[in-house]
């Protein structure tokens, strides 16, 4: 079966994110960008399926600015077979991404789409679920284990109460959590091979989707600084502070 892996270009996880002075967003100028770490886990999962003979082809998809091709190249250098890039310069919300992914799924007909459970820039945690709903496919989210059977998948989900294993009929959607695997690095020989792998480019219009945002961002601000703690003398003082200063009881 074919496996589709969406990969998002985000601010590198090591970068200290700064809010722009005009509060319209975060500083992206001259900031290092990388593949969303959850998406690396998705690529790794797809590659392992291919190595185990469970997947025939791994296709990496990215939506956004021209430099998203670099993110796709990273996936190709990890071992994915080819790429699809939907070029779009403006902001993209999860719903628009899910719609465009649906159009790509309709064309590519993969047996499985593996997404990250969320992207570390906006932390939305929506795209996978929306895509499953749009396609009417089964979904297993936040998975830390994946067993591939014949026409069926067993996905172990990390939920609040512990672990939950669901059986999914393929075609299906899964979204990956941190503990699923440790993604490989793009090795030097594979970087050379990746150069020769094809990347198809298209536009949202080619997919028949209007990607205009539905939400308006009013402003972006830094979270409040945490204040230093105090040590209280006894329980009475604690209760007093909770009641009168923090006003939580």
């Amino acid at each position: 079966m074919k496996v589709l892996v969406p990969v998002k270009r985000v601010i590198d996880y090591n970068v200290k994110v700064r809010v722009k002075a005009d509060q319209t967003g975060v500083e992206l100028a001259n900031v290092k960008m990388s593949m969303n770490p959850f998406d690396e886990i998705s690529v790794e999962a797809a590659l392992r399926m291919k190595e185990a003979g469970q997947a025939s082809e791994v296709v990496a998809v990215s939506l956004g600015v021209q430099q998203c091709q670099e993110t796709i190249r990273t996936a190709l250098a990890m071992g994915a077979d080819r790429g699809i890039h939907v070029l779009h310069d403006g902001e993209l919300e999860p719903l628009a991404v899910a719609k465009m992914l649906k159009a790509i799924v309709d064309k590519e007909e993969p047996g499985l789409v593996i997404l990250g459970k969320q992207a570390i820039d906006d932390d939305c945690n929506q795209t996978g679920q929306m895509l499953a709903a749009l396609l009417g496919w089964a979904q297993g989210t936040f998975i830390s284990r994946l067993e591939v059977g014949d026409g069926e998948l067993k996905a172990t989900r990390e939920v609040d109460g512990g672990l939950e294993t669901v059986a999914l009929k393929t075609p299906a959607i899964v979204t990956t959590d941190l503990r699923l695997n440790e993604p490989r690095y793009a090795s030097l020989p594979n970087i050379m091979k990746a150069k020769k792998k094809p990347i198809d480019q298209m536009s949202p219009a080619d997919l028949g989707v209007d990607p205009a945002p539905r939400l308006e961002t009013l402003k972006v601000v830094e979270p409040d600084k945490r204040e230093a703690g105090v040590i209280v003398a006894d329980v009475t003082e604690l209760v007093d502070k909770l009641r009168n200063e923090a006003k939580v009881i």
């Binding site: 990388s34 190249r73 690095y185 793009a186 090795s187 030097l188 020989p189 150069k195």
Partner: protein, 596 residues
């Protein structure tokens, strides 16, 4: 934690200053371009961050130890080296046929500096193995290449460099280890070696020692030294007669196990000759020249780490108020607000970024030396390498240590504790002026050999290179004064060099002030590499390259201003040094040993 180098700086050096994409014009690199270079650097950064950096302190706290006769090393070191090898870094610059990717040396070095910055002592193991593979590739027989290159490039075998002996460190002409022909093409070695990095451990299938020794009956001095390959485990699977005598306990650089080794105690240490007899030191230096650039870069990367660490700290630590602020209730300002802190940050930035630019410029010369179609270009690149290599090794390792010192100073008491990494950077860095030829020896080499070699041809090429930059810089009005300043510094250095090399002082007196000469040349080269960066920054600020100025404005202005700092505060140091040299000041020479 921060990891040097800063990506935008590396990008600037490689592309704005060195135009590395042009390397793809050499047929060997035609498959390459910016895209593959960037992907390689990205993988390097990732592995350095994930696998090398996290155990830097752990390796410092738990130095290698002997347990039941075996060297025990924390497992993270072996795991990091495995990731390095699996990604293909040991083979990167080799032929595709050997499993390499024919990557230019410039990019190999640019990748490697990430590992050095993250963890210098773990990086030392692949550093030595890469050097050993280069040497075998250059001098080995086909049979030796067939047998050893593959496993070295895959990282199954590690390499070492075995020169020093307890009584022969700087003075290799006194090496006593001997080799006796075994009557069957091979040799049996006997002797004691000291200070051998990576000399014994359990991390590799085999360790290939490259050993300097004297074939019985060979001439005395360095002319009688040959190079031998001595495997830890012989081809028949038996343990070779190489005995670990003990481990050295170091102040820093602790992850790299350092050993005293006895070769042939039992009379059965098998070795094979590499190349021709009595050519050993030339071969070893062929390898060590690249290694010396690597040592310089290692020192520089620790300076860069210290710079970034102390910079972060200075931006976040509130302390004191500006002079003149009378209100004790006014909030404290950040350390970076104080001019004296900025002085120490600038000093570090000058050494770290200037050193990296110089190291990669040298690596690009290695590519030109190896690949340029014109023989003249190749020879010239070789001569420039000859003369600048001791400078990056010695001057920059001294300056890098001073930079780490400034990082500690900026961080005050915190910098002195093990809660912060800068004290370790300093201790790790303290080795670099000592090994791979102590800095004093490098200075003697620079003045005694390199400045005069081939009738001063190498020196002349460096002069030409610096002159060319003064011409380029002059085209930018804002660099005109700096260009003039560098021209007159260059004239001064030329004058001093000709006075020193033509005066009939005799070698003793001429070399008595070699370290001052090294320092003078170092400051000249530091100023030159900064003017090169400034020219590239001016170009960048014009925004001809796709108009990314907006993004890079602060960065490029920082380059220009650091260049100004170097010209205002560092380059003038040439003057008193030149005085000492020109006037043949013999104060140190004349001190009688009994007067101490």
């Amino acid at each position: 934690m921060v990891l040097a180098p800063r990506p935008e700086d590396l990008d600037f050096i490689l592309h704005d200053m060195l135009r590395v994409e042009e390397l793809a014009e050499y047929p060997r690199f035609e498959e390459h371009g910016r895209e593959t270079f960037e992907a390689v650097l990205e993988t390097a950064r990732r592995i350095a961050e994930d696998k090398f950096q996290p155990h830097n302190r752990a390796a410092d706290l738990a130095e290698p130890k002997l347990v039941d006769g075996k060297v025990e090393i924390i497992p993270e070191i072996g795991q990091a080296i495995e990731a390095f090898n699996q990604a293909g870094f040991s083979a990167a610059h080799h032929d595709e046929a050997l499993g390499g990717m024919q990557l230019p040396w410039t990019v190999v070095q640019a990748a490697f500096v990430h590992f050095q910055a993250a963890n210098l002592s773990t990086a030392a193991y692949p550093f030595l193995s890469i050097a050993a593979a280069n040497l075998i590739r250059a001098q080995g027989t086909d049979a030796q290449k067939a047998r050893y290159l593959g496993p070295l490039l895959k990282g199954r075998y590690f390499g070492t460099m075995v020169l020093s002996e307890p009584h022969a460190g700087s003075s290799l002409s006194d090496v006593r280890t001997t080799a006796k022909p075994d009557g069957n093409q091979g040799y049996r070695l006997t002797g004691s070696k000291m200070w051998i990095s990576g000399g014994e451990h359990e991390m590799a299938e085999n360790i290939l020692h490259l050993v300097l020794a004297r074939i019985e009956g060979a001439p005395a001095g360095v002319k009688g030294l040959s190079l031998f390959l001595v495997p830890r485990i012989r081809e028949d699977g038996a343990l070779n007669d190489v005995r670990l005598v003990g481990l050295n306990h170091k102040m820093g650089y602790r992850g790299t196990v350092n050993t005293a080794l006895a070769f042939g105690d039992g009379g059965d240490c098998h070795g094979e000759l590499i190349g021709e007899a009595n050519e050993g030191l030339a071969y070893m230096f062929g390898m060590m020249n690249e290694a010396r650039i690597g040592v310089g870069l290692g020192a520089i990367m620790l300076a860069y780490q210290g710079y970034l660490t102390s910079l972060d700290y200075a931006r976040e630590r509130p302390q004191g108020r500006h002079p003149g602020e009378k209100d004790p209730d006014a909030p404290q300002v950040m350390l970076i607000e104080h001019a004296d802190i900025r002085r120490m940050l600038l000093k570090q930035k000058a050494v770290a970024e200037g050193g990296l630019a110089l190291g990669l410029w040298l690596a690009r010369l290695v590519d030109r030396h190896g690949q340029d179609p014109s023989e003249r270009e190749r020879i010239e690149a070789g001569l420039l390498l000859d003369i600048v290599t001791p400078i990056i090794k010695a001057f920059f390792s001294d300056q890098a240590l001073a930079a780490n010192d400034a990082a500690i100073q900026i961080m005050g008491g915190a910098g002195y504790t093990r809660d912060h990494p800068v004290e370790q950077y300093w201790r790790d860095n303290r080795l670099n002026p000592i090994h791979e030829g102590a800095n004093g020896i490098q200075a003697i080499d620079l003045l005694g050999r390199k400045a005069t070699m081939r009738d001063g041809a190498a020196f002349g090429l460096l002069v030409r290179e610096i002159e060319a930059e003064t011409v380029t810089a002059r085209q930018a009005p804002m660099l005109e004064d700096l260009s003039d300043q560098l021209s007159s510094a260059l004239n001064r250095v030329r004058h001093v060099t000709s006075v020193l090399t033509s005066a009939q002082l005799g070698p003793m007196k001429m070399l008595a002030n070699a370290s001052e000469y090294m320092e003078m040349m170092g400051h000249l080269v530091l100023a030159w590499i900064w003017l090169r960066q400034a020219s590239a920054a001016v170009e960048g600020l014009r925004g001809e390259d796709g108009g990314h100025v907006g993004d890079r404005e602060d960065f490029l202005k920082g380059k220009l201003h650091t260049c100004r700092y170097v010209f205002a505060r560092e380059l003038p140091k040439i003057s008193p040094l030149a005085d000492t040299l020109e006037h043949f000041d013999m104060t140190t020479f004349d001190m009688d040993t009994e007067w101490f």
